[in-house]
Subunit: 159 residues, 2 copies
DNA sequence: TTTCATATGTTATATCATAACGTCTCCGTC
DNA sequence: GACGGAGACGTTATGATATAACATATGAAA
């Protein structure tokens, strides 16, 4: 698993791959990747950055697929619950998962200048957290690890 | 620095100590711990759990100290900016810092059953995160590490 | 065919947050 | 003492995010 956040890449390809992985996962696990859910995933993948629920909703609305908040939130909830997308707490926003299908506790790197978001493997940080929690008798179920700062591009040319 | 989240402790004492530390820090750094700011800190300390801005505002309102959201948000912003309180992104809520005065990157353990929040040292997790970020050329400024799960009490008696 | 579970669509409203502007107070300067 | 600036506060208004509740639809199970 690699980050795809701050580097050029074959975007068309990564969308297709992610979508296919999600389709297969849903198939295997008996999850319903309905038209709305699939479309919301496509929207997140296409933008390849964090989007608010209302941004997603705007796109759905233009396409005549329902125009009320619950439509977007429900699709996003489905994607997040099954690991196909992540919620960025710091931004109240959502991104498509960079590595759907793999169990992982991602970290997010959020650029405060350009708002780019990169997903990076959080194994070490998440294990450290689990260890601390374990000492206190706390049973960890979900972890959110988010860093705010400057991405490589904005470090070089701030503002 | 120790967590104070899930254990019995001398609450009266911890409030007084924290308040005194904050007063001294403000004094040294030339920060204005105004009546509203001080009162908001006291409110957070007294509850000793995560509170929404509007919960804080309700208390201020009862006391006739201003009844509009910006009053609470501004005081909370001051406390967070100076490390006297923390914002829990997952909950859109605030807690008094368990170790004001010390530079630290805390982790929060949030019980999904009883909503208790414990602050625990996040040094290892935060260092792991910085290391991952550094490899990507990302310059970390702030870190939020939050775990959701069951606290010791709720593990034993869920629901 | 009925029943049930699941998903969708819609209305209404709850919750969280901030922009903008006027006022007050303190402090330093003239 | 008058003036001017900085910072905090109070208020109005509004923006942004999120969900409760209920009606409708659809497909699978009994």
């Amino acid at each position: 698993m690699d980050t795809i956040g701050f580097e050029r890449h074959d975007h068309r390809h990564c969308i297709a791959t992610a979508l296919q992985t999600v389709e297969e996962t849903c198939d295997v696990q008996g999850l319903q990747l309905t038209p709305v859910r699939r479309r919301v995933l496509e929207i997140l993948l296409a933008r390849h950055r964090a989007m608010g629920a209302y941004d997603v909703l705007d796109v759905l609305r233009e396409e005549g697929r329902g125009s009320q908040p619950p439509v977007a939130y429900r699709a996003l909830d489905f994607l997040v619950a099954n690991g196909f997308a992540h919620r960025i707490e710091r931004l109240n926003a959502f991104v498509a998962c960079a590595a759907p299908g793999e169990r992982h506790a991602p970290c997010f790197l959020i650029c405060r200048n350009c708002s780019a978001v990169a997903e990076t493997p959080g194994r070490r940080a998440s294990e450290a957290l689990r260890a601390s929690a374990g000492e206190l008798g706390f049973q960890v179920e979900r972890v959110a690890i988010e860093a705010e700062g400057l991405c490589p591009a904005c470090v070089d040319t701030p503002r």
